[in-house]
Amino acid sequence: MADPRAAILGRLSAALGHAADAPAVAPRIDAHARGPQPMWTESVRGRFLAKLEKVAGTWADVAAPERIAEAVADYLAVQGLPPRLCAAPHPLLAGLAWPQGWEVESRRAAGDDRVSLVVAFCGIAETGSLMLLSAPESPTSLNFLPDDFLCVLPENRIVPRLEDAWALLRDERGGMPRAVNLVTGPSRTADVEQTIQLGAHGPRRLHVLLMKPPAQQALRARAGD
């Protein structure tokens, strides 16, 4: 068979009546023009939390980064889980003082990890979603393998809509990491008689630790509003 690439592109160009090798699409791509934007009246935080709850996510306020360990302990206690977790090798989590006797490992997930703790790139108020980027400090497997998925989200990192998250990503990272995961609530399936069941393959529970940023960052966020 002839080169399939040339054959397919040739047919497309012939049908469209133009030359295949004259890409005229760059300006359209680079404009990053937004489609119609869903509107709402609540605050960004209020919307995020309402949508998160709607998809069976839970959350807790965390007053400062150094209180993350405490919030995790509260969660594990409520769930009756042993003090064992796998935390992302993220700077925000590196210096945490874990209580005596806790097993906290910093690595990618294994098949039998029960609890993971990660830091989101940002939250999206429109849908109550978390955006997670694959990176050395954010192994993707932590988002999907454990039963209980705990995610730190600095309160000043909630953007209104998906397009705002793309703008933030381009601004701060310059391009796409290997994986961008939009995570909205725990894993679910409706494949058995259309009955929704949480925890199909991914996490059974999703818990957001909504963290007050350090004072300095909070100021910056306000100035940016």
């Binding site: 497309l12 359209r28 489609g35 192994p139 497997s141 393998l145 796409m176 894993s187 199909a200 991914g202």
Partner: protein, 472 residues
């Protein structure tokens, strides 16, 4: 799979007689419709998004070659490899080669309709690979040795009891007797069995809801997380995609994602929406070492600019299936191939041939509900009618139907003769009804009277009575 679309009438008949199937279908239909309706009602911008979504697809299709070239460029820049495939066989061959090169033995698959279209599982199994479908619905039908009956809910035709029995037969080791009745028990069972497969798979295969020209990314939407596990844990990730999936940039994908989830399951967004861009980066702690995209044409390039061009906008949400009264009555298997419902009735004849797929475009009342709910505003009734036109022009219409149509048209084109004939018919039928107002049986009308009475004409035709009244 070998299509049985030509036997739609028999397939449908069997489906209507299948009490278990009818029970499953009854459960599914109402839920999908109500959920979509609620989700659309909650978003005042839905119509504006629908127009924007359509415009995005129309624009991209009008420059499809350019966008695919751009996608190729950005994908390769991210370290991914693109494999162009004209036919299902070529696509399967590309996947097999990647799997062999990877020294794979276990392949974990996320849900992919392109995978079904190219019959990839047969090809992989034939080549000695162990293939595990990881989407719960796909897994159920894989162990049942059945094709999917719905493009987003492959096992929608199965009842809970049937699924439990399947799992019982496939998973049970002697001496192990865990209860397997409730939905949570069934889901947990699958979770446990498939978890092992994810961890040992060498190659993960997923589909793609969108390809992004700007970044070289492929996008999947799932609720279970199986697609992400398939894309993250194995050494090699292969994405199956077709050429019409490309969109210009992330903003365009955002518009379509808002339409897709609401139209499909009535969700605002699925649990997991993931964008994959190349293999793992040097510092990444996880992710595949290789990232391949197999890009299938399978006749799509021939649709561009033709009578079925609009079908290329389809984003495979399944809303047309969920709202189709024919699909709701007979389920997906009756359609006899991979794509059922209205979108399947348009696509199947294009992909397996009009001879094989001929009944499907006719198995519709053209009620238009599919077009009404289609987030891409695809004029499905018009496309079904276009198939009928081609069938008629190519002489694929059965002799008796053709003859009846010709006889009727002969009269309809001759008003004076038509008036005589219709008057004779009306008066005869009226007389035969003997004042009962209807017929329970009538020669040549068995198809009608099998399930319903035929109301009898009131007497003389309107035209005859009108003429009389004007004269008198």
């Amino acid at each position: 799979m070998k299509p049985t679309s030509h036997a739609f009438a028999d397939n449908a008949h069997r489906a209507l007689d299948d009490a278990t199937l009818q029970q499953a279908l009854a459960k599914a239909g109402v839920g999908f419709v109500a959920k979509r309706r609620a989700a659309v009602a909650e978003l005042p911008e839905f119509d504006a998004l629908r127009q924007a979504g359509r415009a995005i697809k129309d624009h991209t299709l009008a420059h499809l070659d350019h966008y695919l070239l751009r996608f190729e460029e950005t994908l390769q820049a991210a370290g991914g490899q693109l494999h162009w495939a004209e036919t299902p066989d070529a696509a399967c061959a590309a996947v097999l080669e990647i799997c062999r090169d990877a020294g794979a033995s276990i392949v974990a698959k996320g849900k992919s309709m392109v995978g079904e279209e190219i019959a990839l599982n047969d090809a992989l199994e034939g080549a000695g690979f162990e293939v595990v479908e990881t989407d719960l619905g796909e897994y159920i039908i894989q162990i049942a040795h059945e094709p999917p009956s719905h493009i987003i809910a492959p096992a929608v035709h199965k009842t809970r009891a049937q699924i439990a029995a399947l799992f019982e037969a496939h998973h049970r080791q002697p001496g192990l007797a865990r209860p397997l009745e409730s939905v949570p028990q069934i889901v947990d069972e699958a979770r446990e069995v498939l978890r092992e497969k994810f961890l040992s798979a060498d190659v993960g295969i997923t589909g793609a809801n969108f390809l992004i020209a700007e970044t070289g990314s492929t996008v999947i939407v799932t609720n279970e997380g199986n697609g992400d596990l398939s894309a993250t844990l194995p050494r090699v990730h292969i994405v199956l995609a077709s050429i019409e999936k490309v969109v210009p940039n992330l903003e365009d994908a955002s518009v379509l994602l808002r339409l897709l989830a609401r139209s499909a399951t009535g969700q605002e967004i699925t649990s997991y929406t993931s964008f994959f861009t190349g293999p793992r980066r040097s510092e990444d702690p996880d992710g595949p070492e290789e990232f391949h995209v197999v890009l299938l044409d399978n006749g799509r390039s021939r649709l561009l600019g033709g009578a079925f061009h609009d079908m290329l906008r389809c984003i495979r949400c399944g809303a047309c299936l969920n709202h189709c009264p024919v699909y709701g009555a007979v389920g997906g298997h009756a359609y006899g191939w991979v794509y059922p419902g209205p979108m399947g009735a348009v696509l199947t004849p294009l992909m397996v041939g009009l001879e094989e797929g001929a009944p499907l475009p006719n198995a519709s009342t053209l009620c238009g509900r599919c077009e009404e709910v289609c987030p891409m505003a695809i004029p499905l009734p018009k496309l079904l009618r276009e198939h009928r036109r081609q069938e008629f022009d190519r002489g694929l219409v059965a002799g008796r139907s053709r003859w009846a149509l010709a006889a009727w048209a002969f009269l309809a084109r001759r008003p004076a003769l038509y008036r005589l004939a219709s008057r004779a018919g009306a008066r005869l039928l009226h007389k035969l009804s003997r004042g009962r107002g209807r017929f329970a049986k009538l020669p040549l009308a068995q198809a009608w009277t099998a399930a319903r009475d035929l109301p009898a004409p009131q007497g003389d035709t309107f035209m005859a009575q009108w003429r009389r009244s004007k004269r008198g």
